[in-house]
Amino acid sequence: MELTEAIILSVLAASTPLLLAATGELVAERSGVLNLGVEGMMIVGAACAFGGAWLTGSIIIGALCGMFAGVLMSLLFAAMALGLAVNQVATGLALTIFGVGLSGLIGARFVGERITPAPHLHIPYVSDIPLIGHILFGEDGFVYLSLALVVAVWWFLYRMRAGLILRACGDNHVSAHALGYPVLKIRMYAVMFGGACAGLAGAYLPLAYTPFFIPGMTAGRGWIALALTVFASWLPGRLVIGAYLFGAVTILQLHAQGAGIGIPSQFMSSLPYLATVIVLVLLSRARTGGSTAPAALGTVFVPDR
């Protein structure tokens, strides 16, 4: 029982940065923008968040710094891919190269410093209920924030008019434009939201996970977030399942080793990626309404006037 609880807690923590970054990317992709620069936005977010928290001693200010840095990075992307109609794939990759370098420059002065990590929630009595108490009321704030964010995004996309318009931009920008919606402006907001989420996801690492900054500490999590949006077939609910599944595979693989079960770890590690491909194929085959890729994903749009 205790081990189960511990594993669930580890999975929650390991999945949170993935879920945060993927939620942001999902919104951007739903508006029709493929931003491959998630890793770059995350690592800059991590560096700035740590810097902010270290200078002020406040986790919240740190998190805000990370989000702000993510937004600035995403604006750079938006200026290129939306403002100048540059290919999104190339821009996203350039953003990652740029971000990795920039984070190193920013973070160089914080290397070797350490902060007090984000506190875990503790509600007297409630948090002490076995199993449920710890899981539901005993993690750090980011974990619950990420889940709240998914719910909010779901509500926005499916229950609000603005969300409908955003999806329309992603599915057919020409029609959305013809109906009089400012496609580029909407996409810019979506990209900025993606940047804020990626920045926050990056911030989670030095603020809560391992409370120090080291260059390259995102270690490819931004790319996994991209995979997750596909795995989830662009549905917020499935994103949660995907992120936790991915986190679970990572953690269980470690536990399997600790317990002396000898499966080559490479096979376990490759499962999520293979699963993503298979899921994508199955979903594309099934073509159930609205669950496939946004039709205009990754395409350039320049409004006719």
């Binding site: 493929l34 491959l36 750079l76 290129m80 403002g83 100048l84 109609a85 540059v86 290919n87 794939v89 190339a90 821009t91 990759l93 350039a94 953003l95 190269i97 740029f98 971000g99 990795v100 370098g101 920039l102 984070s103 190193g104 420059l105 160089a108 260059p215 790319w223 991209l226 995979a227 596909v230 080559p264 490479q266 096979f267 590690s269 490759s270 990626y273 293979l274 993503t276 491909v277 994508l280 194929v281 979903l283 594309s284 085959r285 073509r287 496939t292 890729a293 994903l297 990754g298 320049v302 409004p303 006037r305």
Partner: protein
């Protein structure tokens, strides 16, 4: 007043020529500011980045060695992108080619096999790359699954396969358990061209590939089909071109070239199979393809230019103690400017009145 982007009626030849120069000019201005902020002399820094590597034969060779895989992969990718097939998994196809080709090298090790080994390795590498690239292409054509994402996912799968092989079955028995195969036999090694240098046969092959790409696109019907399918899908349908067939074809070519680049890199500069044989060639090549405007000659220039910044970055670390991160920022800024300026070949800015009525009236 509002600034808007609008499509030009035709490509601007003037901008096409001026764009790289403007981009480099803007990069130099930005970097000058950055170097001054960092307290480095901007002029000597730029000199070290751009001129020093061009000043001697050794560095020129190294630029060619670094550019070889980038150019080879980017040529294949440009075909895909022209045909609107979004292969971004070249890194995986590169690794697959490297793994498959190495299989022959590992199995023939020390058997005294003849000179057929290297050609067989190159062939198998190209074939494996092509087959691996066909997985996302088939998923796209048969099931409509986004090739952008499936090709990206498959990168990680083959990366882990390579990792497994060199840590397990293919590990060098004399290698103290380190994750690498034994050094390939001479018959399994790509020959170098200049005594004492690293320039190898692969660089010549890359030039052949560039020429072949130029001929394919400029002189053949298939090349014409590729361009039409990408630029005007509707027209292509009326013309009876089979877009799906072209997706399969361009993916296969692109995969083959990536796989070939992979096995050449392993059998050439590296000399054995190990994890980390690619410092992200497959991804950098995407940028090279776009920097070269999806044009074979452009790609050759772009590949050499990007290679120059890598070599220059090392020079800057050595002679001026400029951290590697600055080089990455520099590359990022350069890419942004080039991509942005190139956009103005197809589009132009126009100032319009922000009042919607007037805008409509002017329409």
């Amino acid at each position: 007043m509002q600034l808007i982007l609008e499509k030009r009626a035709e490509r601007s030849k003037t901008v096409a020529l001026a764009s790289p120069l403007i981009a480099i000019g803007l990069t130099i201005v930005t970097m000058t500011i950055l170097f001054m902020v960092l307290g480095k002399n901007p002029i000597s820094a730029l000199y070290v980045y751009f001129i020093v590597p061009l000043a001697d034969g050794y560095s020129l060779q190294e630029i060619a060695v670094k550019a070889t895989p980038l150019v080879m992969i980017a040529i294949g990718l440009s075909l895909c992108y022209l045909a609107n097939a979004w292969n971004i998994g070249a890194e995986g196809q590169f690794l697959m080619g490297a793994v498959a080709g190495s299989w022959i090298a590992v199995k023939t090790q020390g058997t005294g096999a003849g000179h057929w080994v290297l050609p067989a390795m190159l062939l198998l590498g190209a074939l494996a790359g092509a087959l691996y690239a066909l997985i996302p292409a088939i998923c796209k054509v048969r099931f409509g699954a986004s090739e952008i994402l499936t090709s990206l996912m498959l990168v990680y799968v083959v990366d882990l396969l390579l990792d497994y092989l060199v840590r397990g079955p293919w590990r060098d028995p004399q290698g103290f358990n380190f994750p690498t195969t034994a050094e390939f036999d001479p018959v399994a090694t790509v020959p170098t061209l200049i005594e004492g240098g690293r320039l190898h046969l692969g660089s010549i092959l890359a030039l052949v590939v560039v020429a072949a790409g130029a001929v394919l696109l400029g002189k053949t019907i298939k090349g014409f089909e590729i361009r039409v399918v990408g630029a005007a899908p509707r027209a292509a349908r009326f013309g009876g071109f089979n877009a799906n067939q072209l997706i399969l074809l361009t993916f296969a070519i692109s995969g083959a070239l990536s796989g070939l680049a992979g096995i050449i890199e392993v059998a050439g500069p590296v000399g054995h199979l190990q994890p980390g044989i690619s410092p992200g060639y497959g991804f950098t090549a995407i940028i090279v393809a776009f920097l070269g405007r999806l044009n074979p000659i452009g790609i050759l220039i772009a590949g050499l230019f990007l290679a120059l910044t890598f070599i220059g970055g090392e020079q800057a670390q050595i002679t001026m103690k400029i951290p590697l991160d600055v080089t990455k920022v520099f590359q990022g800024i350069l890419l942004f400017y080039v991509l942005a300026c190139d956009s103005l070949i197809l589009y132009r800015f126009r100032i319009v009145s922000s009042s919607p009525q007037v805008a409509r009236g002017a329409h």
